[in-house]
């Protein structure tokens, strides 16, 4: 049996109400295109890579990372055209290096395609366990319809043949060169053709065609499925697709379009995770993606599902939210509005590739050391033990801090330090189990920060250097549950 063995989800903390967008820039929006609800938007220190790492950490709860044989990453918004993002994510997760990593890009159906490829590898026996991460962080021009639609989010699924929580029982794929939306190499923003044409000739047809093809291939009908899961580009058309195929309204998985927006590549799998969170053994779930055609997949939930109930997944991530407050803050965080970074903000460095390579486990993986003689955990990694009563030299073992929790020992909100989302919050974190480090704080407002507040770690984009290279590090994020 091959399928999903664990899941994780990640939705950024910030939400923007679509009325906030309309209130700020409504003059340019056609009132006829006004959409309801809110959408999830990434903080200034997030991108597809960072969000994927956080979803994957959730997915890996209680799982031995040494047993992961591969990592696939699906996105249309990698910050690198050439430099594999999957490799960055695998390093941040401190996975083994003798694994297969790949990026699936160019289409928002990339996540289901990557899932099928991962399962094919497991079926073929070339891997026992593959991590699939998917995230998108698509920015849109101010005042356009895409700005209202696009949201940000990430998902992670572990695929394998041991401890399967939902087996992959069949698939059917369609591929069309349907240029409904696209982004040429030089462009920052997506463009799209007329909505009515996309809705009626693409979105309204391909998902139905793939699902119908799937049911025909396996001689199944809508009543065989507990849930049918597919992304929402247009709210009314979304319901019509299932109805046309003969599904009842209660079989259709809630699309979250008015809670997080159209999150692109991870969207169908984020909805799948939400479905799995409610599923019980024996449920059959049909998932279809949309993008240059469609992939349709059948999953059967097993009793192992009960073992992964402690994930944050989608449900808890939906609850962890904060209104960004203003449109201006939103377009500053996503860099659509180029703010005056003044002198201090321009003091950026160049990422040293050789240093990053040498210290990759320290910087990306947050791997420090633990003294074998006195047991003191320490970060950054030390060769000489920092414990004044010990001082052992070269008696260290690796010690990963990224999956540890801690407490805020002291902090400040700094308005002198440059931050696109001031104040720059940082503090000293004492880690549970030992170790102390000065870290940025993120996803919190200064008036909620206190000495003693419990924190977890979150992988973040720390900077974009002067030639455009994104650099990543870990930050502390208050635990609110």
């Amino acid at each position: 049996m091959v399928g999903i063995t664990s899941y994780g989800g990640y939705i950024p903390w910030y939400r923007i109400n679509r009325m906030t967008i309309y209130g700020a820039i409504g003059t340019w929006l056609n009132p006829a295109s006004l959409l309801p609800g809110e959408k999830a938007v990434s903080n200034w220190d997030e991108d597809s890579i960072s969000m994927s790492v956080n979803a994957a950490v959730d997915c890996l709860t209680g799982i031995e990372r040494e047993k992961v044989d591969g990592l696939y990453f699906a996105t249309t918004t990698s910050p690198f055209t050439e430099r594999q993002a999957g490799g960055i994510i695998a390093t941040a997760l401190d996975l083994r290096s003798d694994i297969r990593t790949a990026d699936f890009t160019g289409s928002i159906s990339g996540a289901t395609t990557a899932l099928l490829s991962a399962c094919d590898s497991v079926t073929a026996g070339s891997a026992k366990s593959i991590m699939l991460c998917s995230a998108d962080c698509r920015i849109a021009k101010a005042g356009g319809p895409l700005e209202e639609q696009y949201g940000d989010g990430a998902v992670a699924l572990l695929l394998g043949d041991d401890g399967v929580i939902a087996s992959l029982d069949g698939s059917y794929s369609l591929s069309y060169d349907f240029m409904d939306h696209y982004r040429v190499t030089q462009d920052k923003f997506n463009r799209q053709w007329e909505d009515r044409w996309i809705r009626d000739e693409g979105y309204g047809k391909f998902i139905g065609e793939a699902i119908a093809g799937l049911m025909k291939k396996y001689s199944m009908s809508p009543k065989d499925f507990t849930k049918v899961v597919y992304p929402c580009l247009y709210a009314r058309a979304h319901g019509a697709i299932a109805k046309q195929l003969g599904f009842e309204a209660e079989q259709v998985q809630e699309h979250m379009f008015t809670a997080i927006g159209n999150t692109g590549t991870p969207y169908p799998l984020m909805m799948l995770v939400a479905a799995l969170e409610e599923a019980k053994a024996g449920d059959k779930i049909l998932v279809a993606s949309y993008g240059n055609g469609s992939d349709a997949l059948i999953f059967t939930v097993t009793k192992e599902i009960e073992k992964v109930r402690d994930r944050k997944g989608i449900k808890k991530s939906l609850e962890f939210k904060h209104d960004i407050g203003s449109y201006e803050r939103f377009i500053t965080c996503n860099s659509v509005l180029p703010i005056d970074t003044a002198g201090r903000g321009e003091e950026t460095s160049l990422t040293s590739a050789s240093k990053l390579w040498r210290e990759r486990r320290e910087i990306l993986g947050l791997v420090g050391t633990k003294c074998k003689r006195c047991g003191t955990p320490q970060y950054p990694p030390q060769r000489v033990c920092v414990n004044p009563a010990c001082g052992a030299i070269d008696e260290m073992e690796d010690y990963r801090f990224s999956d540890r929790k801690g407490h805020i020992f002291t902090y400040t909100g700094d308005l002198l330090a440059f931050s696109p989302n001031p104040p720059s919050l940082y503090g000293v974190i004492n880690f549970d189990g030992g170790g102390r480090y000065l870290m940025d704080l993120t996803d919190c407002e200064q008036d909620k920060v206190k000495v003693g507040l419990p924190v977890e770690l979150s992988f973040r984009r720390k900077y974009i250097d002067r030639v455009g290279v994104s650099g990543y590090f870990w930050k502390a994020r208050p635990i609110t549950e």
Binding site: E347, S424, G427, L438
Partner: protein, 390 residues
Amino acid sequence: MPEGIKDKVAIIGMGCTRFGERWDKSGDDLMVDAFKECIEDAGIEKKDIDVAYWGAFYPMQGLSGMPLSTLLHLPFIGVTHVENMCASGTEAIRGATYAVASGASDIALAIGVEKLKDVGYGGLPAFGVSMSGANLTAPGGFAMLATRYFATYNLSPEEGKRMIGRVSVKSHHNGTLNPKAHLRREVTLDDVVKAPIIAWPLGLYDCCGVSDGSAAAIVVRAEEAKKFRSDPVYIKALQIAISSGEEIQYTDFDMAHVESTTHAAARAYKEAGIKNAREEISMAEVHDCFSITETVTMEDLQFSPRGHAREDIESGFFDLDGGLPVQPDGGLKCFGHPIGASGIRMIYEMYKQLQGKADARQIKDPKYGLTHNLGGVPHANVCSIAIVGL
């Protein structure tokens, strides 16, 4: 315990420029000004100097001994550039002191400088962005000391801000009496507490200014000093203590005090033969880069018991007319902090006070003056302490 430097070396001349936003002067101009006052005060000529140490922190001042030597056209003597963050000035004094004490040289120049106001933005010049950690600034680093101090001693932010605010009110008053200070106006406690936040909980008036300036000193062996002047000032102690790294990596440290100052002070008192600092030290110029720094330093220097600086601050014990005047010249608060110059600027005030030449700021019959620098942040820093006296 080593024998120490007490009474082996004397300062026979000093110079100090007016500190401020010296748009009119380069760093080189400031050094020439300080040097000129210094050798006139010592009554020597340039050719008498046989070794020099110059402190400057930022690389834009230039590196190596050459920027000083070629500026003053020193005659092929040994010139050493010293950098130890905010202790760089005191480190230059230490180099010069040890050079003459050892007998390797006879007349040594120590000079410090920093030209901070040529970068195009406020605050200290930034250092780019590191690949890991947090991009902290100086106010942010010391704000975390305030957060920790307030939490440790159960002070509400309002109580804490009023306590440290009183420190700035006192220094601003002293600054009005000093023509060489950058900021020369009184502020009220309300001004300080209500000022815009720079790094919570520190507001604008909790932070020292950012200035240009230079200061210089000439030292000789103690037994030669009276040949140059009747009122030389003697070095009683010179100590440097540097963070070991355990403050930020090992969880035992409370972050409500500064460990390096605590060590440097204990050693300096031993070197100078001081048993009770609160009673015996007549006056001090400490590193009040931020009001919280001065507050905590009062405890690290044993002027106030741990957790009790507040009583002494609020009773006026550290005021110019108090039991132990601190920052009689206005401190970093009013002078700003041209990094390499500050340590020598502090000693300049002690020197003038000991000689009875501090005009409106004159403290009655001082015996020992203490100076203190703290470079870096409370959890990772360099500390220097000098004690001078008659």
